[in-house]
C-alpha cells in the first residue's frame, strides 16, 4: 500500500529513509516490527483459533 502513498509502516520507513538516509536503521526497524507482529501476535493468535476450532468440532489438537 505504501506504493500508492497509504501511510503504513513501509511508507513511513521510506519517508524517514529519504530524510535521514539511515537505511539500515529505517528498513531494519520496519522489518523487525513486521516480524514481531507476525511471529509473536498473529501466528500465536491463529494457532489459538485453530485449537479452538478443532476442539469445537471434537477433533484432537494438531
Amino acid at each position: 500500500m505504501a506504493l500508492v502513498t497509504v501511510v503504513d509502516l513501509t511508507f513511513e520507513a521510506k519517508q524517514i529513509n529519504s530524510i535521514t538516509w539511515l537505511s539500515a536503521q529505517c528498513f531494519g526497524t520496519a522489518l523487525l516490527i513486521y516480524y514481531i507482529i507476525s511471529r509473536f501476535f498473529l501466528v500465536p493468535f491463529l494457532r489459538w483459533l485453530e485449537v479452538l476450532a478443532a476442539k469445537k468440532v471434537g477433533k484432537d489438537v494438531i
Partner: protein, 226 residues
C-alpha cells in the same frame, strides 16, 4: 488527464510494453531458478540432525516469510551499499526474490517429502538401500508430483510480484508502463496493457502446471485428481 481509451496510443506503446515484458519474464525466471535452489538449501537446513542449525534455519525462514518483500527489497538495495557491497538493481531484485520465495518453496519441499508414507522409508531400510538411493529412486519420484502444485503456484506468485522490482528501478513491465504514463500523462492504456499481459501470461502458465501435474500423475499410474 483524459480518461477516454485511445487505440492509436495503445498501439504506439505496445512494442515498448512487449519489450519490457521480456524483462519481466526474465526476472521471474531467474528469480524462480534462485528460489528453487535456495529452497533446497533451506530444506537441507531443516533436515540436518544438528539442532542449532535446525533452529537458526527455522527462525531465518520464519523471519523472511513474516516480513514483506517490498521492505526486503529496500533493505537489500539501500543497506548493502552502506557495508561496501554495491549491487545493481537487477542483482538486488533477483537475490531478494530468490531468498523470499526460497523460504516458501522449502516448505513446499518439506510438505512433499512428508507426504511420502513412512512405510516407504522403512521398506527401503529393510531392503538395505542407501540413503542416496532411497531419495533418488524411491522418495523423490513420489514427492515430486506432490510438490508440483505448490511449486507452480509460487512460479505464478513470483511472476505477479515482479512489479515490486520497479520500486528499485528494475526496468520491467510495470516500470515501463509508469514511465510511458508519466511521459505522455496517460496512464489508462499502459496500465490496462500491463494487466492484460499479466493475465495472458499467468493463465497459460497455471494451465501448463496443471497439465504437467496430471501427466506426471498419469506416468506414475495415479488417478487424476479432479
Amino acid at each position: 488527464m483524459n480518461a477516454e481509451w485511445r487505440w492509436d496510443f495503445a498501439i504506439e506503446i505496445l512494442p515498448q510494453m512487449l519489450w519490457a515484458t521480456l524483462n519481466t519474464i526474465l526476472a521471474a525466471g531467474i528469480g524462480y531458478a534462485i528460489a528453487t535452489i535456495v529452497g533446497l538449501l533451506f530444506l537441507l537446513g531443516q533436515r540436518t540432525p544438528i539442532k542449532i542449525v535446525n533452529m537458526i534455519n527455522r527462525e531465518v525462514v520464519e523471519f523472511i516469510r513474516s516480513t514483506p518483500l517490498l521492505i526486503q527489497l529496500f533493505f537489500v538495495y539501500f543497506v548493502l551499499p552502506q557495508f561496501g557491497i554495491t549491487l545493481s538493481a537487477w542483482v538486488c531484485g533477483m537475490i531478494t526474490i530468490g531468498l523470499h520465495f526460497g523460504t516458501y518453496l522449502s516448505e513446499v519441499y518439506r510438505g512433499a517429502l512428508e507426504g511420502v508414507p513412512k512405510t516407504q522409508w522403512e521398506a527401503c531400510r529393510a531392503l538395505n538401500f542407501t540413503t542416496l538411493y532411497t531419495y533418488r529412486r524411491i522418495v523423490l519420484p513420489q514427492a515430486f508430483p506432490i510438490a508440483i502444485p505448490g511449486m507452480g503456484n509460487y512460479l505464478v506468485g513470483i511472476f505477479k510480484d515482479t512489479p515490486l522490482l520497479s520500486t528499485i528501478g528494475v526496468a520491467e513491465l510495470f516500470h515501463a508502463a509508469t514511465a510511458v504514463g508519466g511521459y505522455n500523462y496517460r496512464y489508462l492504456e499502459p496500465y490496462t496493457i500491463v494487466g492484460i499481459i499479466f493475465l495472458i501470461l499467468s493463465v497459460p502458465a497455471a494451465m501448463g502446471i496443471r497439465k504437467l501435474e496430471s501427466s506426471v500423475n498419469k506416468a506414475q499410474g495415479k488417478v487424476k485428481n479432479k
